[in-house]
């Protein structure tokens, strides 16, 4: 019995009994704040661009390199006189879509591979997991660059590229969860009453592994947004005129002295969005798995 009166035990004692996951999440103040931030950012990207007096692709050479807060262009203009704010928000649409789509695809691949390998195991499962290990051997940027050489850069191909290089962690996670859960009582019980494999997999096992998957999904969005910016910075990213947060930064280096806002604004947007997703992931982890609270 109660030997431990450690801070954690104490904190757990203080905590009211049985708060819902949502309440635990909401209490994670930074996560809640981040959720608000991401939602407003997403909404702004969807709603605001049509309301702006400038479009993201409208070139106005006479207005090039206007500084922020100095004229009609709230956040200034780029080397072609395009409105930075309009571009930032349109780029947000692209970058967030890339983030979510890449996450979705990588989750599908990762869950499929993880489910299969975790549930059936066997030789194919082992080969799949070794493949996962092999892919994880490459430092991610090396893999991204090697594959980007293979693709014609477009929004779709960048999404595929990022998804193709970020499903492995998910696969590993799901595989481990499923393998552990498979042996547990309810799975055995479900099988004992004659449920077929698919039913056991999708109705019994997967829902029980959902917490870490949700966390991984959130973190994957952050990862994808970052990855997009890296690829763009290294010159293999989404091609203009389509703006993305990453390709807005592509040439930032040469304007660092003359027009630093061109580098600072999109970089700050990326940092803000990625931080947001990371905090949400953190909050979700705490909310869905209180034992992990310390991390």
């Amino acid at each position: 019995m109660s030997t431990s009166a450690s801070p954690v035990a104490a904190a757990q004692v203080i905590r009211p009994r049985g708060p819902s996951a949502f309440r635990r999440f909401a209490r994670h103040r930074l996560a809640a704040l981040s959720l608000v931030l991401i939602l407003s950012l997403t909404l702004a990207c969807i709603i605001v661009p049509p309301l702006l007096p400038f479009s993201d692709t409208e070139i106005d050479i006479m207005q090039r390199f206007a500084g922020p807060f100095t004229g009609p262009h709230l956040l200034g203009t780029d080397p072609l006189g395009r409105d930075t704010l309009a571009r930032l928000l349109m780029a947000g649409r692209i970058s967030l879509s890339v983030g979510f789509s890449a996450m979705a695809i990588s989750m599908v691949i990762g869950i499929a591979v993880g489910l299969y390998a975790g549930f059936y195991g066997g030789r194919i499962g082992a080969i799949l997991m070794r493949f996962v290990d092999a892919m994880l051997c490459f430092p991610s940027i090396f893999l991204l660059l090697a594959i980007s050489a293979f693709l014609q850069p477009s929004v779709g191909s960048i999404i595929m590229l990022i998804a193709a290089t970020s499903w492995m962690e998910v696969a590993r996670l799901v595989e481990a969860q499923i393998r552990a859960l498979r042996a547990r009582d309810f799975a055995v019980a479900a099988r004992a009453i004659g449920a077929n494999d698919r039913r056991v997999m999708f109705r019994e096992l997967l829902p029980n592994a959902v917490a870490p998957i949700v966390v991984a999904a959130t973190l994957n969005v952050a990862h994808a947004i970052l990855a997009e910016s890296y690829i763009s910075f290294l010159g293999y990213g989404i091609q203009p005129p389509t703006p993305s947060w990453g390709n807005m930064l592509e040439n930032a280096q040469s304007y660092l002295t003359s027009a630093p806002w061109l580098a600072i604004i999109p970089g700050a947007a990326i940092t803000l969005a990625v931080t947001g997703f990371n905090f949400i992931g953190d909050g979700l982890r705490d909310a869905l798995d209180p034992r992990q609270e310390a991390r």
């Binding site: 692709t57 409208e58 070139i59 050479i61 090039r64 080397p79 072609l80 050489a149 014609q152 850069p153 290294l234 010159g235 293999y236 091609q239 203009p240 005129p241 592509e250 040439n251 280096q253 040469s254 304007y255 660092l256 003359s258």
Partner: protein, 572 residues
């Protein structure tokens, strides 16, 4: 040949300048030889005046002081001058090795390892052009002390065509037969057929040491290739891969100089970073890709720095693929041309650095036609042309004719911001003409592969040249038998076919009458300006920078890199 495009585009690169063979615009020194009949135009290719080393200030022979750090935005990696390399590798070759002769800024050839440039006049070349005899300079030694002899030249010429050796090109060299060493310093050979450009080719053929390469089991992998030994003004010192190459003065150099103790060729992969290092003085000179256009004005105000705007032989063109139905219509090309805001591109995006042009020939060329109709940016006129040609606007405002939409991709290498900006400008203006153009950029290694040479592009924004090395002849780019995708051999990737142009080019190749050639090429320029198989935008100008007290730097439009005379550089 002669369609060099810059390989890798660096971020902030202002000018997709290339310094390949096509920089050799003319070789007037040959004009009296009645051999190549390159004709008039002496001095056309001269460098901007005032930078030639002044004889007075030049140090005495044997005086050496200091080092120079030359910044390059690409890394020299190929050191065997006979093996495949890119333009930046020449910075090493031209300083470590020597050629038999080399071109001066005014186009004349100056003997180097040879004692004179052979000609029919001096008996070096037989009247039929088949027998060549070259006298070599005595007393020249390789950096390792071994004497340079005719055997080395023989070995070099043989190695180039040796089976299994990865030589860069055998063009011209493959015609050489029966190489004969007449003495330690005299060599002769026979040509399979008369090939006049070979004189020019040899001005870019570096002689390699037989005693080192022949001793290696495989010249492809000889240690020599990683630590070259030449006869040049500088000898190989050391290389820090990915960073710099250090050359040391060759005290026993047979020619003038060197006046520097060391020359360091420093690789700075980013042009903005390279410029920053030039500004802070870490780099003494930027040559090659030069200073990014957006920094040129600032650079010109830097104290203690000198900026030279150096004309290049290449042009920035929009290259249409005439295999595309819409683009095969001359009216469309003319309308597109009228819809190019050249002034906007040059003045705004490139800060006025480059020179607008109408011709495929560089303005310094002796065949340049200055009287071509001037381009006018006029969207109304462009729209009228399209209307007249039957390209009607559809409900969405986009034009089509006979079910063919006026739509195409513009491609260029990824990661080149200024070119991307040019693309944006083109797209915006053309969209006002009902043209649906979109960007489809790809990495250099992809775009210059099959996509380019098998004419898979729709339109390309490309910096390239339209001559045959030393000669203004552009038949490689414009002749109808130079379309690779139609079985031809050459660089007519636009797939342009024009009977009159073909006729002109054949005649101009055959005649030795300079005046006649010039007349023919003037006419060809008119045809090309009218037909627009290429839409010329501007001729490249590179802003190279040096410290003001670095003397001797002299841009040479005929040299592949402006380190061509580094042996004569010195610190004031």
């Amino acid at each position: 040949m002669g369609h060099g495009v810059r390989w890798l585009e660096r971020k902030g690169d202002p000018s997709m300048n290339d310094h390949s063979t096509d920089r050799i615009l003319a070789a007037p020194a040959l004009r009296r030889r009645a051999l190549l009949a390159l004709g008039a135009g002496a001095g056309l290719a001269a460098a901007a005046p005032g930078f030639a080393p002044s004889a007075k200030a030049q140090p005495a022979q044997g005086m050496r002081k200091g080092q120079v750090v030359v910044g390059l935005s690409q890394e020299p990696t190929a050191f065997n001058p006979l093996m495949p390399g890119i333009e930046v590798d020449e910075t090493i070759w031209m300083n470590v090795f020597d050629t038999l002769w080399y071109p001066m800024p005014d186009g004349s050839l100056v003997p180097s390892l040879a004692t004179e440039v052979p000609s029919t006049g001096n008996g070096g070349i037989s009247a039929d052009g088949l027998r060549w005899r070259v006298k070599l300079r005595p007393g020249v030694t390789w950096h390792d002390g071994t004497a340079f002899t005719a055997e080395d030249v023989k070995y070099t010429l043989e190695l180039i065509v040796a089976p299994g050796f990865k030589s860069r090109t055998r063009l011209g060299h493959a015609l050489v037969r029966d190489i004969e060493v007449l003495g330690p310093h005299e060599i002769a050979w026979r040509m399979e057929s008369a090939f006049a450009p070979y004189l020019a080719f040899l001005s870019n053929t570096y002689i390699v040491p037989k005693h080192l390469l022949a001793a290696a089991s495989d010249p492809n992998t000889a240690p020599f290739n990683g630590a070259p030994v030449g006869t040049g003004a500088f000898r190989w010192d050391r290389r820090v891969p990915g960073d710099h190459i250090q050359l040391a003065a060759n005290e026993k150099y047979f020619g003038k100089g060197p006046f520097l103790e060391r020359a360091i060729l420093k690789y700075v992969p980013d042009m903005t970073a390279l410029y920053a290092q030039f500004r802070t003085g870490q780099v003494d000179a930027i040559i090659g890709t030069g200073i990014p256009a957006n920094f040129v004005a600032e650079a010109e105000k830097l104290p203690g720095k000198r900026i030279s705007k150096v004309s290049s032989g290449s042009l920035e063109v929009l290259m249409p693929n005439l295999g595309q139905p819409a683009l095969s219509d001359k009216a469309v090309r003319q309308a597109l041309y009228a819809g190019i805001n050249k002034k906007g591109i040059i003045d705004v995006i490139f800060y006025g650095l480059h020179k607008p042009t109408e011709s495929f020939a560089p303005q310094e060329s002796w065949v340049y036609n200055a009287d071509l109709p001037a381009h006018r940016f006029d969207l109304a006129a462009a729209n009228a042309m399209l209307d007249k040609a039957g390209w009607a606007r559809g409900a969405n405002g986009l034009r089509a004719k006979d079910g063919v939409p006026l739509a195409f991709d513009i491609s260029t290498t990824t990661g080149n911001a200024l070119r991307e900006q040019s693309q944006q400008l083109l797209l915006q203006d053309w969209s006002k003409m009902g043209v649906a153009a979109k960007v489809n950029n790809m990495p250099a290694a992809v775009i210059w592969g099959e996509f380019y040479v098998r004419s898979k592009f729709q339109t390309l924004l490309v910096g390239t040249g339209f001559r045959s090395g030393i000669d203004p002849d552009p038949s490689n780019r414009f002749a109808s038998n130079a379309i690779p995708v139609k079985g031809g051999s050459g660089g007519n990737y636009m797939q342009w076919e024009n009977a009159e142009a073909d006729r002109i080019m054949v005649e101009a190749q055959a005649t030795f009458d300079t005046a006649r050639r010039k007349a023919l090429y003037l006419r060809l320029q008119e045809i090309v300006r009218d037909e627009l198989p290429i839409l010329p935008i501007y001729q490249y100008v590179t802003a190279e920078g040096t410290k003001s007290n670095l003397m001797g730097y002299a841009p040479n439009i005929n040299a592949r890199q402006n380190t061509w005379n580094m042996r004569e550089w010195y610190w004031a």
